[in-house]
């Protein structure tokens, strides 16, 4: 069990993923990805995958236990529906990063585009730069940490996820409100920043979450 190198100009993504699903090595280098889709999707072994270049849609989707690093930027839906493990993007991420993910840690060292953490269900997402509009839309559980700014409509229709933002927030979505930062929040922030390898003072972040006003109908029907 050693290291394997797969050049995506010589092998197909399907061949790469078949190897990663029944791994014969513990660590992999993926070369020349050139924006191909679904690179390292469906990994469910504790393997290390280093992608050298930019990846396309759904990179590291459904990851369950792998440690996947992209030395470049990623397209839509990186680590979507991740269950566990770590996905690290050294560059930027397109839309819907970490969508519906249940667990694990997603680190985006650059910025993430719109709908980052949409419908997140337990994942931790740490973004070194900014996030785009409509992020954490319908977020249900987990933590989203943003070291830069957040775009408009942050946390629209949010359930129970916790959002931390160090920079400016464009605007808050429906039912998302600012909440006080207590010691337990500073402690979890310190932990998440350390896990992501980002050096920021937890005291610089503001916290946002659900006002829980959308949990029940309030139509005041009179008939």
């Amino acid at each position: 069990m050693g290291a394997l190198t797969v050049d995506l100009q010589a092998s197909s993504v399907r061949e790469l993923n078949a190897e990663l699903h029944t791994p014969t090595a513990t660590s992999y280098e993926v070369l020349d990805p050139k924006g191909a889709h679904a690179i390292a999707a469906g990994v469910h072994h504790p393997i290390d995958v280093q992608v050298r270049g930019h990846a396309g849609y759904y990179c590291a989707g459904m990851n369950d236990g792998g440690a996947i690093t992209v030395h470049g930027s990623v397209g839509t839906g990186v680590a979507e529906n991740m269950m566990s493990g770590t996905v690290r993007v050294r560059g930027d991420a397109s839309q819907s990063a970490g969508a519906t993910a249940h667990g694990g840690l997603l680190v985006i060292e650059g910025s993430a585009s719109m709908r980052c953490g949409i419908s997140m269900k337990g994942v931790d997402i740490v973004v070194g730069g900014d996030i785009g509009p409509m992020s954490a839309f319908m977020a249900q559980a987990g933590r989203l940490v943003v070291c830069g700014d957040a775009g408009d409509d942050l946390g629209d229709s949010i359930y129970e996820a916790r959002i931390y933002v160090r920079g400016k927030v464009g605007s808050l979505g429906a039912d998302c409100v600012e909440k006080p930062v207590r010691d337990e929040h500073r402690a979890e922030l310190a932990e998440l920043l350390a896990a992501a390898g980002l050096d920021h003072e937890p005291g610089e972040f503001r916290r946002f979450g659900s006002a829980r006003r959308l949990y029940h109908f309030a139509a005041h029907n009179t008939y």
Binding site: K34, G35, A36, H37, H54, G56, Y57, S73, G75, T76, D92, S94, Q95, S113, M114, G132, P133, M134
Partner: protein
């Protein structure tokens, strides 16, 4: 779906490579739109010589060249390109007089448009895209949703001189806006929703507004999903709908500005490793002038 690629060259040393670069970009978005493909090339003087106009038509009769003995007539699949040393309007009139049943799908003094149904990779060969030169070009691969798979429904929509529009998405209120434009005398070639966008932009440009203003007005008026790439005689502009439903990515270097639906279409461009790469924000118009 649908795939969009566009390239606006800043470095004249790249002009001879426009077609090859555009073809490699187009081939990366084939899966996004396998029904049809269209291409527009700006500044290819072999296709539209200096002092000439070029008019692209569909449904050309096989003897069109014989009917237009003074013109350069080139068949490329569903499209036939006619070039002659006339004004754009005069050439359009001459083509229509010679072949009344054709549909004009592109015209200009610096622009050549091709569109047709079939596999985009095969169409790129039909259009001889690889040999194209010039300073700007765009291409579109179509997965039809709003109207039939026909050459008329293929993009780009080139409905004003040296103008082109390609669209990924679908307009919801196109029938209403088409009715309004028809009332103002605008004539349509298809039932396609994207054509309404192109006609709207052309009507604004004809009123003297610039591309930036025309697209901001489009955002106010049109409802639906869209990533649009619009080109004119001197520019290149990108805009997305309010929730940025359809993907878009822009890359810029000192040598070029490129836009595509996906990064992989940009991956082979020279100097991409040092490009500034970003996604356009919702309802913000990004425009570059030559």
């Amino acid at each position: 779906m649908c795939g969009i690629v566009g390239l606006h060259l800043r470095d004249p040393a790249l002009y001879p490579r426009l077609g090859r670069l555009l073809e490699s970009m187009l081939c990366q978005v084939v899966e996004r739109g396998p029904d049809s493909a269209g291409v527009a090339v700006y500044g290819d003087r072999r296709r539209c010589p200096e002092g000439h106009a070029a008019v692209s038509v569909l449904d050309a009769p096989p003897d069109l060249a014989a009917r237009l003995p003074d013109a350069l007539v080139t068949a490329a699949g569903d499209t036939t390109v006619v070039a002659a040393p006339l004004s754009v309007d005069a050439l359009v009139d001459a083509v229509r007089a010679a072949a009344p049943d054709v549909t004009v799908v592109g015209s200009g003094t610096d622009l050549t448009v091709y569109k047709g149904t079939g596999h985009p990779r095969a169409l790129a060969a039909t259009y001889d895209l690889a040999s194209a030169e010039g300073w700007q070009g765009l291409a579109h691969t179509r997965m039809a949703t709003e109207s039939a798979v026909t050459p008329e429904g293929c993009h780009p929509f080139s409905v004003g001189p040296d103008q082109c529009l390609v669209h990924n998405g679908s307009f919801a209120n196109h029938a209403t806006i088409r009715r309004d434009l028809r009332r103002d005398g605008v004539v349509f070639d298809s039932e396609n929703d994207s054509e309404v966008g192109a006609r709207f932009v052309a009507s604004r440009l004809a009123q003297g507004e610039d591309l930036d203003k025309a697209l901001r007005l489009l955002c106010e008026r049109f409802d639906g999903f869209y990533t649009l790439l619009v080109t004119s005689a001197d520019g290149f502009a990108v805009v997305r709908d309010a929730i940025a439903c359809k993907p878009a990515i822009i890359a810029e270097t000192t040598g070029w500005v490129a836009m595509a639906s996906e990064f992989r279409a940009l991956a082979e461009l020279p100097g991409i490793e040092d490009a500034r790469i970003y996604e356009p924000e919702p309802e913000k118009v990004y425009a570059w002038v030559r």
